[in-house]
């Protein structure tokens, strides 16, 4: 399969997964059933996002923990902006600008 077809397969498969979750829980699961796992579910988004963020900054794992990794400095600036302004877009812009300037 060439790359373009593979991307189509991924887009369609991911579309199905996303829709499945949206419809399945509306239609087949009630609140009582989910209460048992609700606590665990609330931590899923924050951990998934954090894992993806860190794996983007440290793309070679421990080998990326170096002084040459400018993504670390840019991320620290972005985190400071995030903390003070609580604004997503501003955070992204600050991180990108810092990254381009340091490269």
């Amino acid at each position: 399969m060439n790359r373009s077809s593979y991307i189509w397969v991924l887009i369609i498969a991911s579309g199905f997964i996303t829709y499945f979750i949206r419809i399945f829980f509306i239609q087949f699961i009630d609140e009582e059933k989910i209460n048992k796992i609700k606590e665990y579910l609330t931590y899923v988004p924050v951990t998934v996002l954090s894992a993806l963020f860190f794996s983007g900054v440290f793309d070679k794992g421990l080998a990326s923990v170096t002084f040459d990794n400018v993504k670390i400095y840019a991320s620290i600036i972005a985190i400071v902006v995030a903390y003070f302004f609580k604004n997503g877009l501003l955070t992204i812009i600050a991180g990108m600008v810092a990254f381009f300037l340091m490269q």
């Binding site: 991924l10 996303t18 949206r22 829980f25 509306i26 998934v48 794996s55 070679k60 421990l62 995030a82």
Partner: protein
């Protein structure tokens, strides 16, 4: 109709926050090597901002197919919480309303509707659809703008780093609570340590440890 319009009106301020992310997604998709049609149709097939940017990230990293599907499943799991809570309002509606309502479910539409469903002056379904359709239209238009913009950007200007920064931006809302902070930091450290495990299993180990750390923290605090 009045309920539909008040859904549109209530979601409007939130749309101003949705549009820039649509533009960012569109531009990043082009920069990640997708063609225009793929970038645009992904917004229609998936219609979930975080999931779409996660998919771009996984495509760029050449992650194995099954791992990508598992990651997509996890990132979408939060919608299960919204779906369950929406279910009580939508369960008795017609099949087409339920199918379409599920397709249009987003963080934004859910948040606005959950707020107003207790209001007896509101017809629930028209209100929800007013909010949800507005998000859909905004997302498609801003994606198109981003795809157009992505094509204008010079080749050497890579948007790669915008992807992890988007994940950071989406994290902001969670970090007001200490338990979420603990979950995020534990996951992050574990992710760096276990990053090179085969088949990206380090990702799942990190998520598991993050959830476990938060659960343990809340248990200890309650004793």
């Amino acid at each position: 109709m009045i309920s539909f319009l008040s859904g549109v009106k209530d979601i409007f301020p939130i749309l101003l926050g949705v549009a820039p992310f649509g533009v960012l997604y569109g531009a990043t998709a082009i920069s990640a090597g997708l063609d225009k049609l793929q970038s645009l149709l992904m917004s229609i097939f998936i219609f979930a901002g975080a999931s779409q940017i996660v998919l771009l990230d996984q495509i760029k990293k050449d992650t194995p197919f099954i791992t990508i599907l598992l990651v997509m499943f996890l990132i979408n799991l939060r919608m299960a919480l919204y779906s369950v809570s929406m279910a009580q309002h939508i369960k008795r509606e017609s099949l087409i309303t339920r199918l379409l309502g599920a397709y249009l479910l987003t963080d934004e539409a859910y948040a606005v509707s959950a707020n107003r469903f207790s209001d007896s002056n509101i017809k629930k379904m028209p209100y929800y659809f007013g909010a949800a359709v507005s998000v859909w239209v905004t997302w498609q238009l801003s994606t198109a703008a981003g795809v157009f913009l992505g094509n204008q950007l010079p080749q050497h200007l890579s948007l790669d780093f915008a992807i992890p920064l988007t994940f950071l931006a989406l994290l902001i809302n969670f970090l007001k609570k200490k338990k979420f902070m603990i979950a995020a930091i534990t996951t992050g450290i574990a992710m760096v340590i276990f990053k090179n495990l085969p088949y990206n299993t380090g990702f799942f180990v990190a998520v598991f440890l993050g959830i476990a750390s938060a659960v343990i923290y809340t248990r200890l605090k309650n004793e």
